[in-house]
Each structure stands twice: as structure tokens, then as C-alpha cells.
């Protein structure tokens, strides 16, 4: 392992200098670049797409999104300097407050289009389920670390999944199916990175299939509607989207038309009629990727997707660089969360995934989503910085072992 042989002051001085030159940055610049690039894309798209949405204030969504981004950036920088390992001490508090917030919003939250998802604050409507994703990642990572020696136990897998499924079920009750699914994915991802055996995943997969069959086939047949009919239609609509273009699949149809009409280089923001004439619903939130596709074509979509690829690649790299299991699990949860959101959202807009109402991280308009994503990236940066710090203190020791 490390050699701590006494060195001359001169040597030490040279070492210090070298150290200083090798680790000048306390964050991953490419990860930051990807995040800033995506925020820039978001602002660029929102500027034109939402110009006519709020009569009298053409920059309503633009300015607000910019403000959320600034708040998010500041929080990201702050949290990246924070020793994330200390979060483990707060694991029960974090988990309880997550459950509490979700219950509270179900009880007293404000209703938007039939679901209670947010608290209306003076400048901002806060969605606890968004923050909940991050809290859940941290809490689950802590629970796994607590049982690090019994990772192969069926009991551990069951407990961690249960800890994830409880808030997932509560979120789905709001109802917010998409975010609920994110919680489930986060649980699976944390277990996956922790090294839970493949047999357990196979068993979980089998359970999931049974659950899906039960909610979609068996329960309705027995007269119990677990999902509302529109939810079923949304989830299955992408399989046969043209059957009823005026109904739930209307959005899907319009989204595909928007993206397809962008062709190679896009119609330009001015001529993007699907967006500007409101044929594309929710074009500033869930369907913002369709706006990119329409306005900037395949080229624009490729740029955005590349930025996400960069983000995920750097995230996975951070995972491998974590100074401890806790960091790796958090990074794994965050990367899985981002990946799932990106693919479900983009897949929805291009008609290969169900309509679930998951925002596109950093692109979709929305304070809770933007700020929580930045918080997550802040945590990744903290794991990165502390991982590099640790390996610098014990240079290449682990590498030799591997």
C-alpha cells in the first residue's frame, strides 16, 4: 500500500506542487458542461416555444426557468463541497420526511388536472415527489450500507425494495404513475450497484410481471379497477397509437407529427407550427423534446441526446470513482434515475414508451425538477471530488488490487 517514507523538505515541496497541478479542479468539468449545455438548450427552446403561452408576458416561462437554473446551480456548487457521507447519519430523518411530505401533499396539496402533486408557494409550486427521488436514493443507499455484510440475503433485497415501494405506491396514489415508477427503478438500481444477486432480480422481475398482469388483466376482470381507465390507455396507447387520435393518444400523435415534421435540420422555431399553434400539448414540460425535434430536427435532437449521453457517461464514471460504497450507491441511484427519466420521456415523445408524465431532466420547465436534478448533480460532484481526494491521498492503491 502507500509508502510514507520520510522525505526531504524539498521532496515534499515538489510533491505538493505535483499534487496541486494534478488535482486543480474539485469538480468534474465535463459533467458540469453537460448540465450547463442542457440548461442552455432548455432556455433556448423555451424562449420560442412559450412565447405565446402566457398572454402579455412572452418570457414568463423563460425567466422562471432561468431563475430555477440559477438557484439549482448555486445549490449544486454548495452541495458539491459537502461531505456527503454525513448524510448517512440522517437516513431515518430523510426517509421519514420524504414519506411525510408525500402524505402531506396528498392531504393538502393543490390539484392540477386531477392529481395532487404540489404545494403552491409564493413564487413556486413545490413537488415533494421530485425531491423525494433524491431523498429515497440517499436513504436506500444508507440502508444498503447498513447491511453491507448481508447483501446476498433475500431479506436485504426485500427490505430495500419495500422501503422503495412504500413511497412509490404513495406517489402513484397522487396519482403520479411516472414518478412512482422512478422510485421503483431507483430501488432496483441501488440494489443492482450494491451487488444483489441475479437470482433476486429474476425473482423481482417475476413478481413485477405478476403485478402488471394483475393490475391490467386480472383485477379489471374481477371488477376492481386499480388503474383509472385513462391510465391504462396511456400506458398501452403507444402500442396502437392511431386507434383514436382525438383521445388520450392525441398527444402522442401530435408529438410524433411534431418530431417527424422537423426532418433533418428542423423547421426553425418560427415555423414550428405544431408547437407555436398549440397542437403539441405540454410543449414546455413533458413534450419539450418534441419541440426540439420539430424546431431543430434530427440534428438538434442528436445534440440534446449527446449531452445526456455525456451526463450519463460521467455519472457512471463518478460511480466508479466513489471513495466508498455509500457514494457508489448514491451515484448509481442518481444515474439510473436520470437514465430512466430521459429514456421514458424521449421514448414517450417518439412513440416507443407509454405516456407517464415524467419530466425530461434539466430540459422540461419546472422548478422542482430542475432544482432537484441540480442537487443530484451536486451530489455526484461531491462524490467525484471526494473520490479523487481519497485516491490522491492513497494513490493507486486500489488500482493495484483490481
Amino acid at each position: 500500500m502507500s509508502t510514507t517514507s520520510p522525505r526531504s523538505p524539498i521532496h515534499r515541496r515538489v510533491d505538493d506542487l505535483a499534487q496541486h497541478q494534478r488535482a486543480p479542479l474539485r469538480f468534474d468539468p465535463l459533467l458540469a458542461l453537460a448540465a450547463l449545455g442542457l440548461v442552455a438548450c432548455s432556455l433556448l427552446v423555451l424562449a420560442d416555444a412559450t412565447r405565446d403561452d402566457v398572454p402579455g408576458s412572452p418570457h414568463y416561462f423563460l425567466y422562471r426557468q432561468a431563475a430555477y437554473a440559477v438557484v439549482g446551480l448555486v445549490l449544486m456548487v454548495l452541495i458539491s463541497r459537502f461531505d456527503y457521507s454525513r448524510l448517512r447519519e440522517l437516513r431515518y430523518g430523510l426517509y421519514t420526511s420524504m414519506i411525510g411530505l408525500i402524505l402531506l401533499v396528498i392531504a393538502v396539496g393543490s390539484t392540477t388536472r386531477g392529481s395532487r402533486r404540489s404545494f403552491t408557494l409564493p413564487f413556486f409550486s413545490f413537488q415533494p415527489s421530485e425531491l423525494g427521488k433524491l431523498l429515497l436514493i440517499v436513504a436506500l443507499a444508507s440502508f444498503v450500507v447498513d447491511r453491507a455484510r448481508r447483501l446476498r440475503d433475500r431479506d436485504t433485497t426485500a427490505r430495500v425494495m419495500l422501503a422503495a415501494l412504500v413511497p412509490a405506491a404513495l406517489v402513484m396514489l397522487q396519482p403520479d404513475l411516472g414518478t412512482g415508477l422512478v422510485y421503483v427503478v431507483v430501488g432496483l438500481a441501488v440494489l443492482f450497484v450494491a451487488g444483489t444477486s441475479w437470482r433476486h432480480f429474476t425473482a423481482l422481475g417475476a413478481l413485477a410481471v405478476v403485478a402488471i398482469l394483475f393490475t391490467l388483466v386480472a383485477a379489471p376482470a374481477a371488477g376492481v379497477q386499480v388503474l383509472k381507465p385513462y391510465q391504462v390507455q396511456r400506458l398501452t396507447g403507444f402500442i396502437s397509437p392511431s386507434s383514436d387520435p382525438r383521445d388520450q393518444t392525441y398527444q402522442l400523435n401530435q408529438s410524433r407529427i411534431a418530431i417527424g415534421s422537423g426532418e433533418k435540420t428542423g423547421r426553425g422555431p418560427e415555423k414550428a407550427t405544431q408547437t407555436r399553434l398549440n397542437f403539441l400539448p405540454e410543449h414546455h414540460t413533458d413534450f419539450i423534446f418534441a419541440v426540439v425535434g420539430e424546431s431543430f430536427g434530427f440534428l438538434g435532437a442528436a445534440v440534446v441526446l449527446s449531452l445526456y449521453a455525456l451526463l450519463i457517461w460521467r455519472g457512471l464514471r463518478v460511480l466508479t470513482m466513489a471513495k466508498n460504497l455509500f457514494g457508489a450507491l448514491i451515484a448509481g441511484g442518481i444515474v439510473a434515475m436520470l437514465m430512466f427519466q430521459v429514456f421514458i420521456n424521449v421514448g414517450m415523445t417518439i412513440g416507443i414508451a407509454p405516456i407517464t408524465g415524467i419530466p425530461l431532466p434539466l430540459m422540461s420547465y419546472g422548478g422542482s425538477s430542475v432544482i432537484v436534478t441540480f442537487l443530484s448533480l451536486g451530489l455526484l460532484q461531491a462524490i467525484y471530488a471526494q473520490g479523487r481526494e481519497a485516491s490522491a491521498r492513497k494513490p493507486r492503491a486500489a488500482a493495484g488490487l483490481a
Binding site: 457521507s85 454525513r86 447519519e89 450500507v145 453491507a148 455484510r149 443492482f192 450497484v193 451487488g195 401530435q254 410524433r256 407529427i257 411534431a258 418530431i259 417527424g260 415534421s261 422537423g262 426532418e263 433533418k264 423547421r267 407550427t273 405544431q274 399553434l277 398549440n278 397542437f279 400539448p281 425535434g293 420539430e294 430536427g297 434530427f298 435532437a301 442528436a302 441526446l305 449521453a309 450519463i312 457517461w313 457512471l316 460511480l319 466508479t320 470513482m321 471513495k323 466508498n324 460504497l325 455509500f326 457508489a328 444515474v335 439510473a336 437514465m339 429514456f343 424521449v346 421514448g347 417518439i350 412513440g351 416507443i352 473520490g387 485516491s391 486500489a398 488500482a399 488490487l401 483490481a402
Partner: protein, 633 residues
């Protein structure tokens, strides 16, 4: 740092490396799927979706074309258009009946100042009448209302505001029955060959001249291509194709003669006669015998066709068709079926002479009555005219003379009376350029015997039927236009003209594009001596002492050859007829006029005076109502 032992781990284990690799692999696969899908959507099928996107936003709004004007032979406007802003309702797009529809009616009512109940009633009534057409709730709304509703189409589902062209009839009642109505094309009409290429919602002629000449009058609608948003709100024009007005239709009608005819009908129809009936229904036709150009044609009573600007309400329609109001919608000139009285005698004369039953000079004794079979037929008033020939018989309208003809013609093979009646235009449509013409009835042995076999009448054909037919009584049913055509044929040397009201199709500047000049329906051969004898007789009737209408035309500055008629109609007063041929000088301005006035009494009492008024206008004579004294049929 506070860290537990478990938390300290080798930075990366092979297992973790594998799992990270799996995550990365999954991400890679998903990115690949997304890229391929995007490539498929945007590059491979991009043009298809671009077309769909344009379909979404582009709406073609049809701009109706104004219909062509209708003018008289001198270019006086009889029918033109005015622009009106109409608030219409598309019933299919209304919210379902219930509170939402009631709320819509309430809000709409506030905008156009109508009570919600009235709107609901209009919608119900008009939708029942024309289920495929938009309901016109209100017309002639101010432009501000147009702007208000046009910009708030999503707040008023099913409500449209449109600039529409409404037909305007500056002369109101004048020739009202001829023009017919216009209205949105019906789904059934859309399938017809004559409406080929017409778009749904186009206003087309639904009757009268508007129907007959629709092809030319209709015009070509324009289109405005607008961009709309997802709620259907217009967001700017993309392209405009101007509508093209329909062609102008010039009629053979003479406005002044038409006016004179309608005034004559009112004046003569209002003459107090013993039976006390006033404002009798009737009709007149004035025609150029040479070519069938209808110079004036009218039915009395008339109505103001401006009521058709809005879809007719059931109640208005009933009023216009009710017998108490004289059924003004009915065009009696082509649709009124009557026995013709003694005006038939000219036709009987042709049959008698051409079949050789008599010559123009064959003497026939008229002792005032005649027994045929076991029935005694009498002259009106029982007057005895002594031994007379055809000319005198027409002059004094001897019934016995023509009873004799009827009896003799009955036994001639080939039924010359029926044959000639049909040749001259009775019992068949004249082919006038108006829809809805009826053919009437020429009574014949075959017809009555068939009815008898079916037990629809109490007796078979008998000689008495022919006797009655010879003097225009009994079962004969003819229209004024048929009588005008028959007299024209006699006047025009056997050429049976096809009556027509349309004269020219013109462009807006009045330049001739196409002539409406139907050829004569057929030619019939009437011996010149025979024809001259009949015309002489008719001339004597209108000019010589003892002629049935001589006193009506005393001192009239034109040659008039006319026959009075008094048709007996069961259950009501006698119907007054007059049909004449007249010209000035050496056959200048020839004209045939047929007038009939229901319950007008003797021919000389109402119809002949009306004909005189019409001829006065035509020949520039002083218009004076001269009621004749002749009490013959």
C-alpha cells in the same frame, strides 16, 4: 471522518465493474434505439409528418361567390345580391343539449341581442326544415359582432359568422313566382349530375329560374387559406383565391309589361262582380308568338320573395301556400289547371277544318240550342244566331256551332279534336324553362274508358264528352302557358314555339356569352285558308259589332284577334279567360296574351279588360279598364 468499517471498500471490485458495464451497455442500447427511431421519424418519414403538420394548421375557408344578377330584356335589374353578415349555427358542432348548450345560447343571445328561447326555437325550426344546412340565427349583424365572434370561435362552439350574399328583389312582388329560391345544396342534390363539381355548403338554385339557370348563375366560390391553432382560432391568412360572380341572366321579360300585367291582374281581378268575390287569383302570359320569348308572365296573388333571404319557417311557408291567402307561391301561369271555356273554340276550329268536317264557309244552323243524344245543349242565354259559318261562330262565340263540331268530330276516326288539341300543346308540357310545369288533361275516350274500367267514374266516354270538350268545358284541364302556346301556333303558321324566359347569358358588363334560343317544339300543318278563317273570326270577335270582346277593344290602336272564355267550374263561380293575338300595323310587335281570372265571371268581364291593359302597355296606348258586356261563354 466518521466512517464505519463496512463502508470502507476497495475502490472498485470486478463485480462493480461488471455492473457498471451492464448499466453502460443498457444506456448504449437505449440510445441506439432512440437514435434509430428518430432517424426513422425525421429522416425517413419526415415529409409525411410535415404534410400532417401542415394539414393540422391549414384550413381552407370557402368564400361564397355572389350569384349572377337577373335582368329584364332591357337590362333592368330584377334580382341582385346584397352582402349580409350572418350568425349561423352548425347544429352538429353544438354542445349536447342541456346546461352547456343553454349557456351558449345565453351568451350568444347577449352578443346578438336575441333571447335564448328565440335562438333555440330558430335552431329547432330551421334544422327540422333543412337538416343539412347551417341555421341562420340572425342576419345583418354589425361588423363589431362579426369581429367579436370570429375571434372567439372556441368560446362559441358551433357558432359561425359569415359574410353571405342574399338575393335581393328590388321590385318585390314582381314576377316573384318565376325566380324561385336559393339555398344550400342538399346531400341528395350533391349526387346529381347537374351539380357536378359543386362543393358542399354552396348556395344553389332550388326552384324557378334560379334552378333552371343555376349552372350559369352559381359562380365559382373563392377560398381563403388560413392558419389555425389547435383550438381552431385563425392565425393569419396564407393565400386567397377570389370568388367569381355567376353570369348575368338576361330574361325575355319586359319589366314595364310585367308591371302592367300585375297591375292589370289586381285591377281586373278586383272588379266587383255579382258574386262578390274580390282579389281573385289568376295568371297572365304574354309571349312573342314567333319565338316563344315570354314577355311577361305572372300569377296573382303574388308575394315578396325577400322573405326567402332567411330559410323559410314552417309558418311562413304555410301562409304562402294556404288557400285562404290565395296560395301566392303557386305559379298559376304554368301550374294552374283549368277548363278554358270558349278560348278552346279556336283549337276546335283547327280540328274541324283540318279534318274536313267543315270548310271555312260551311253553313251551320244555330237555333239557340241543339239536342245531341238525349241531352239538349244551349247557347248562353239561349240566343239564336241563325245560319252561320266559322268566322261568325267565332265572332259571336256560338256554342251550338261548336257543339255540332264536337258531335261530328267524335265520330271521325283518329279523334281529330284530341289530336289537334295535343298538337297545339294541350295535355303536354310546353317545355318552358321553369321547373314544375304541369301537363294538364285532354279528355279522350281512352282516358275516360280506362277510368271507368277502374270504377273511378260512373260512365264510359260518350258523345257529350266531346261536345263539352269542343267548347272548353267538362274535363279539359289546361294552363295559361299552354293556351298562349296554342294561339301562338295558330298565329305563327304552325310553328309550335317553346316558351322561354331566359334570353341571354351575359357577363357582368352585359356582353353576350350565350343565347337561350330553344327551337320550336314541332311544326304542325294548318292550311293557310283555314288559318286565315280562324284569325278572321278571332279578329271579328274583338272588333266587329256583336263580337264578344269588341266593346272591350273599341278604338284600340292595334289589330287584336282574341277569344273570350267562360269556364264553368263546379262549386265556384265561372272563370274568366281571354286569349288573343295582337300586332300593330303590318305585323309589328306581335304578341300573344293569355289571361285567366278565377271566379272572374264572363270572359269579357275580367280577363279581356286585363288583356287590354297589358296590350295597352305593349302598344303604348292609354291604359283604361274597359269592362265588356258580352254574356257569352
Amino acid at each position: 471522518m466518521l466512517q464505519l468499517q463496512e463502508d470502507r471498500r476497495p475502490p472498485i471490485t470486478p463485480q462493480l465493474a461488471l455492473r457498471v458495464a451492464v448499466l453502460g451497455g443498457v444506456a448504449l442500447a437505449l440510445f441506439a434505439i432512440v437514435f434509430f427511431r428518430l432517424w426513422y421519424l425525421q429522416v425517413l418519414s419526415g415529409d409525411k409528418y410535415l404534410a400532417q403538420a401542415n394539414d393540422n394548421r391549414v384550413r381552407d375557408i370557402t368564400v361564397p361567390a355572389p350569384r349572377g344578377d337577373i335582368v329584364d330584356r332591357n337590362g333592368n335589374v330584377l334580382v341582385d345580391n346584397r352582402v349580409s353578415i350572418a350568425v349561423q349555427i352548425e347544429v352538429q358542432k353544438l354542445p349536447p343539449a342541456g346546461p352547456r348548450r343553454a349557456d351558449l345560447y345565453r351568451r350568444l343571445g347577449q352578443v346578438i341581442r336575441l333571447s335564448p328561447a328565440k335562438i333555440a326555437r330558430e335552431v329547432d325550426e330551421q334544422h327540422k326544415a333543412l337538416p343539412y344546412a347551417n341555421v341562420a340565427v340572425k342576419q345583418d349583424v354589425p361588423p363589431a359582432v362579426f369581429d367579436y365572434l370570429f375571434e372567439r370561435q372556441n368560446e362559441f362552439p358551433g357558432v359561425t359568422v359569415e359574410r353571405v350574399f342574399l338575393r335581393r328583389y328590388p321590385h318585390k312582388e314582381l314576377a316573384a313566382q318565376l325566380f324561385g329560391t336559393v339555398g344550400q345544396i342538399s346531400p341528395d342534390e350533391l349526387k346529381l349530375q347537374r351539380f357536378k363539381g359543386v362543393q358542399q355548403g354552396t348556395v344553389v338554385g332550388q326552384g324557378g329560374l334560379e334552378w333552371s339557370y343555376d349552372r350559369w348563375l352559381r359562380g365559382t366560390p373563392g377560398a381563403t387559406r388560413v392558419q389555425v391553432d389547435a383550438l381552431g382560432r385563425p392565425k393569419g391568412e396564407l393565400a386567397v383565391r377570389e370568388p367569381v360572380q355567376g353570369r348575368q341572366l338576361k330574361l325575355s321579360l319586359d319589366l314595364d309589361l310585367q308591371k302592367a300585367g300585375q297591375e292589370a291582374m289586381a285591377e281586373a281581378g278586383g272588379i266587383p262582380i255579382t258574386n262578390g268575390v274580390q282579389n281573385r287569383g289568376g295568371a297572365f302570359v304574354a309571349m312573342d308568338p314567333r319565338n316563344g320569348e315570354v314577355l311577361a308572365m305572372g300569377s296573382y296573388p303574388s308575394f315578396d320573395p325577400n322573405v326567402f333571404a332567411k330559410p323559410l319557417k314552417e309558418s311562413t311557408y304555410k301562409k304562402l301556400n294556404s288557400v285562404e291567402n290565395g296560395a301566392p307561391l303557386v305559379d298559376r301561369a304554368i301550374d294552374g289547371l283549368y277548363p278554358t271555356g270558349s278560348t278552346m273554340k279556336a283549337i276546335t276550329s283547327v280540328a274541324s277544318l283540318q279534318s274536313g268536317v267543315i270548310t271555312p264557309d260551311t253553313p251551320i244552323n244555330d237555333p239557340g240550342s241543339i239536342q245531341i243524344g238525349n241531352i239538349v245543349f244551349k247557347n248562353a242565354g239561349g240566343t239564336a244566331h241563325g245560319t252561320i259559318s266559322l268566322r261568325t261562330a267565332l265572332q259571336v262565340s256560338s256554342d251550338v256551332f261548336f257543339y255540332t263540331m264536337g258531335a261530328r268530330l267524335n265520330s271521325v276516326p283518329g279523334q281529330p279534336l284530341q289530336t289537334w288539341a295535343r298538337r297545339l300543346g294541350l295535355g303536354r308540357t310546353t317545355g318552358i324553362d321553369l321547373p314544375g310545369e304541369t301537363d294538364g288533361l285532354v279528355p279522350s275516350p281512352a282516358w275516360r274508358d280506362r277510368l271507368y274500367r277502374k270504377k273511378l267514374t260512373d260512365r264510359p266516354w260518350s258523345i257529350g264528352d266531346n261536345v263539352n270538350f269542343a267548347v272548353g268545358q267538362g274535363d279539359l284541364q289546361a294552363t295559361p302557358i299552354q293556351m298562349a302556346t296554342a294561339y301562338s301556333t295558330i298565329a305563327a303558321d304552325g310553328r309550335v314555339p317553346t316558351p322561354h324566359i331566359g334570353l341571354h347569358i351575359e357577363d357582368a358588363a352585359g356582353r353576350l356569352l350565350q343565347e337561350v334560343d330553344p327551337p320550336p317544339s314541332r311544326h304542325v300543318k294548318i292550311g293557310e285558308a283555314n288559318r286565315q278563317a280562324i284569325l278572321d273570326g278571332l279578329h271579328l270577335a274583338a272588333s266587329a259589332p256583336g263580337g264578344t270582346s269588341a266593346d272591350v277593344f273599341a278604338g284600340f290602336p292595334a289589330t287584336v284577334m282574341g277569344k273570350t272564355g267562360t269556364a264553368e267550374r263546379p262549386g265556384q263561380g265561372d272563370q274568366s279567360w281571354y286569349v288573343c293575338y295582337a300586332y300593330q300595323g303590318d305585323h309589328q310587335r306581335p304578341i300573344v296574351v293569355a289571361v285567366t281570372i278565377e271566379q272572374g265571371g264572363f270572359g269579357a268581364q275580367a280577363a279581356a279588360p286585363a288583356a287590354r291593359l297589358i296590350l295597352s302597355q305593349w302598344f303604348g296606348a292609354a291604359k283604361k279598364l274597359v269592362v265588356g258586356q258580352s254574356a257569352t261563354r
